[in-house]
């Protein structure tokens, strides 16, 4: 089969460097790719051998991961001619995976992830204020408008990811763009805070708008500081969601709403 070759897709099938618990890392990566729409419902996955080579895992590990994905209902295997492994986009399962991942991580992990994202995105915002053309600024604004009116939380998460990736492209930097792709594959494994508290979407939209305004005014210092502050706020949301799970009072209804 011919694999799509966009850079986000390349990131999906890039080698895993997680070390331990590799089959679980494969499961998380595939889950996140489905949540972000990078793998579509009904899409055929590469063969076991190809997948193992791309992800740099043993075929044993890969089979374990596929078995787990089948058990979760995110992958379906058909035998015979035209057979293979096919993606099943199950929002309820993805929400459960995100909950499980959140509980698995400590608040320190969430802070680390937020720190790196803030570093990358704030640097991109500063450079974008200096380097983004008027056309590019208009495109950023358009993305933020679409985020504000996105109908589903799935759509919100994907458009939010596009905002950050586009911001890095506005910085004229391939490396920052790739970093954002990788970060969103990790962030996509976690719950999307507005799914738990819809009002947070307004905070995100207002945060992005303020950054785009600063970029338009060529105010690099503000673009950077606003991006940093916004991502710090989002890190605190994740930490709070994590801490809420401590009492074992995970709101099942809330998690169900995560991707719908």
């Amino acid at each position: 089969m011919q694999l799509l070759s966009g850079d986000a897709r390349r990131a999906v099938f890039a080698p895993l460097d997680d070390g331990a618990l590799r089959s679980e890392a494969v499961v998380r990566r595939v889950g996140s790719a489905i949540a972000l729409g990078l793998l579509a419902d009904g899409e055929q996955l590469p063969t076991e051998t190809d997948l193992a080579t791309m992800l740099k895992v043993s075929t044993v590990t890969l089979r374990e991961a596929l078995a787990e994905l089948r058990k979760l209902g995110l992958v379906e295997t058909r035998r015979g001619r035209g057979g293979g492994s096919f993606v099943r986009a199950r929002d309820d399962v993805l929400a459960e995976l995100a909950e499980a991942r959140l509980v698995e991580l400590g608040t320190t992990d969430l802070r680390e992830l937020g720190d790196v994202h803030a570093a990358v995105a704030a640097a991109a915002a500063r450079l974008a204020a200096v380097r983004a053309s008027r056309t590019e600024i208009a495109r950023l604004r358009d993305i933020v408008d679409r985020l504000a009116s996105a109908g589903s939380v799935t759509g919100q998460r994907r458009i939010d990811g596009r905002y950050y990736i586009e911001l890095a492209a506005c910085a004229q930097s391939v490396r920052l763009t790739m970093q954002e792709m990788d970060l969103h594959l990790e962030l996509g494994q976690l719950p999307w805070p507005p799914a738990h508290s819809p009002g947070l979407l307004d905070v995100i939209v207002a945060g992005h708008r303020a950054v785009v305004d600063a970029i338009e005014h060529r105010d690099a210092a503000s673009a950077r500081a606003l991006t940093e502050a916004h991502i710090e706020t989002r890190t605190l949301w994740s930490v709070e969601l994590r801490l809420q799970r401590l009492g074992g009072a995970a709101p099942a209804a809330g998690s169900r709403r995560e991707v719908s």
């Binding site: 070759s5 380097r131 983004a132 990736i165 004229q172």
Partner: protein, 239 residues
């Protein structure tokens, strides 16, 4: 002395222009192949317009382009979806692959090319365009210059024929063509973005404010939206 500087500007401009025309010669070959195919068998909805052999252009000696092909103008009413007929050589000069970007609007990785200037400008103006440097996000993922021209057939605007040249390769080629000693210059695109710089005061990708474009002998690069400006020598190493 001024005439010497103007002469240098003209010499650099000629070198840049020569390389640009070399790439457009390749784009012309792609363009002709599209027209021949459309004339013979129309614009098929599912089958590629370009014959396989076009990819061999990437193997031509001295080829600057690492990617080339046709990007089709979608016509939803005729069942003609977004489509790229694009070949790309691996960065290490190895294999040639077809580019298969994600064309589903619902995906985080959606390659929305119809709004990209390299597609939109030739469509609107009916003229060739040089876009970049730009990060071709969701497409090749590379930092490239994209050279395109509109393809018009009996059925109207078919799409754009084009080629991608990596910024690094373009820089190396220009400098090699100019030989050893080069006056400090900036090559600017129509957005006043630096395409190439031989002065440490400006970096490739920098966007200059209108009042920040340095004064100096200027030479246009014919057939492109670019211009060349000679700048004063300055060094940051002399502390």
């Amino acid at each position: 002395m001024t005439s010497g500087r103007a002469g240098e500007a003209a010499r650099v401009a000629a070198a840049v222009s020569g390389l640009v025309e070399q790439v457009f010669a390749t784009v012309d070959r792609v363009h002709e192949a599209v027209l021949r195919s459309v004339e013979r068998s129309g614009l098929p909805a599912t089958r590629w317009v370009l014959p396989e052999g076009v990819q061999l252009l990437l193997r031509a000696p001295g080829q600057l382009a690492v990617g080339l092909g046709l990007v089709v103008a979608p016509r939803a009413e005729e069942g003609l979806p977004l489509r790229l007929e694009w070949w790309q050589a691996d960065p290490d000069g190895g294999e040639v692959h077809t580019l298969e970007p994600d064309l589903r609007p619902s995906s985080l990785g959606y390659y929305d090319y119809t709004t990209a200037p390299w597609f939109d400008v030739p469509r609107r103006t009916g003229r060739r365009h040089v876009f970049g440097p730009h990060v071709d996000v969701h497409g090749t993922g590379r930092y490239v210059l994209t050279l395109t021209e509109p393809v018009l057939a009996g059925c109207g605007f078919v799409g754009v024929a084009g080629a991608d040249v990596p910024v690094r390769r373009f820089e190396t080629s220009v400098l090699r063509r100019l030989g050893g000693a080069v006056a400090p210059f900036l090559l600017l695109n129509d957005e006043d973005r630096v395409v190439l710089s031989t002065s440490p005061g400006w970096l490739v990708g920098d966007l200059l404010a209108a009042d920040a474009v340095p004064e100096g002998p200027v030479a246009g690069i014919g057939g492109t939206p670019w211009r060349l400006v000679l700048v004063d020598a300055r060094s940051r190493l002399d502390a």
